[in-house]
């Protein structure tokens, strides 16, 4: 084997290894097969559970009211840095893409006073629903949040079925893919 052929072999291995590592990681991204609690086993295609909360103006609100629109629900909390980093992105993309066909709702499961205090300092245009944890234990669990982590997002189809689930903050291209009229 000549020296040139040796170098070519190494370069091919580097290229295949790099691409393999990238795609292997991408392929595992949506897979969630850890020790899932039974009530967190909802997956895309399943009907979304009901969600009741309080809007910032004090109204009682429910997910069922939004049937007929595609809805992105983002569970977050003020104590979670990636959540609060993600909110302005959600707000901006909702302002651009939201409307009669699409709504984005940020659901905070936290002491309402803490949420209001945060929102006074960091105003948001997107609707924020608040669930007092004293009255309801982790509602994202019913949407498939097996890890009980935040942020956790789900996309719900117009007919009320779960379309996508995501643990962790969005980057902008992924969020836009999810919310595109013909996506995700």
């Amino acid at each position: 084997m000549s020296l040139d052929r040796g170098i070519v072999l190494i370069l091919i291995a580097a290229l295949l290894g790099g691409l393999g590592g990238y795609w292997a990681s991408r392929a595992t991204f949506q897979v969630d097969r850890y020790s899932t609690p039974p009530d967190a086993a909802r997956k895309p295609g399943d009907p979304a559970p009901e969600l009741r909360a309080r809007a910032r103006d004090g109204r009682e609100v429910a997910l069922a009211e939004l049937r007929g629109r595609r809805v992105l629900i983002n569970f977050w909390a003020t104590w979670c840095p990636p959540c609060v980093e993600e909110l302005p992105l959600l707000d901006r993309v909702r302002a651009e893409l939201g409307g009669a066909e699409l709504e984005v709702i940020a659901v905070a499961v936290e002491d309402p006073a803490a949420v209001e205090q945060f929102l006074a300092r960091h105003p948001l245009g997107l609707p924020v629903w608040i669930i007092d944890p004293a009255q309801s234990s982790e509602p994202s669990l019913a949407f498939g949040n097996a890890r009980r982590v935040l942020p956790y997002s789900v996309l719900i189809e117009r007919d009320g079925r779960l379309l996508k689930q995501k643990a962790g903050a969005f980057d902008e291209p992924t969020l836009r893919r999810w919310l595109a009229p013909d996506g995700p």
């Binding site: 990681s25 104590w79 980093e85 890890r147 956790y152 643990a167 962790g168 992924t174």
Partner: protein
């Protein structure tokens, strides 16, 4: 000679594979670990007046120092003095101000008093942590059984 080239190719391929994974943006990385795998806790008694608690985390996971609490469940009457933490990573957050965190691994020293003739301690640890720039775990609690050396 040929074998060496194959070994070199395999090595470069492996390194490149790891590098390929590092191209992923945080939002594209694989699913987060279950909390038991993300934050591995163990503890031992160095002597009857000192406990050591260790938290080990995979890369990019971190533990908040000031959201960590320790409590002795058994024996009743035993008390903990303030924990002695190693130097933490100070991080200034736009929303949260100055916070102190640990990556990879941390060992905290817990002075303990009032053990009497107990042979074992049950310690509760409450803590919180995140995967950097991706997500956070809610408040977590673990109970650790620690064997004590004879008095």
């Amino acid at each position: 000679m040929l074998r060496r080239r194959w070994l070199a190719a395999a090595l470069v391929g492996t390194v490149a594979s790891a590098f390929g994974q590092s191209w992923l943006t945080p939002a594209e990385r694989p699913e987060p670990l279950p909390e038991e795998e993300a934050f591995r806790l163990d503890a031992l008694a160095r002597d009857r007046r000192t406990l050591l608690v260790r938290v080990a985390m995979p890369p990019n996971y971190y533990l908040y120092r000031d959201k960590t609490r320790f409590r002795i469940l058994e024996p009743v009457g035993a008390t903990l003095r303030p924990p002695r933490w190693p130097t933490a990573v100070a991080h200034h957050d736009e929303h949260f101000g100055q916070v102190y965190v640990y990556f990879d691994r941390v060992e905290v020293v817990l002075p303990v008093r009032g053990l009497g003739r107990a042979r074992q301690i049950e310690l509760e640890v409450q803590f919180q942590g995140c995967l950097e720039d991706v997500l956070c775990y809610p408040l977590m609690r673990r109970q650790l059984q620690i064997e004590l050396p004879p008095g």
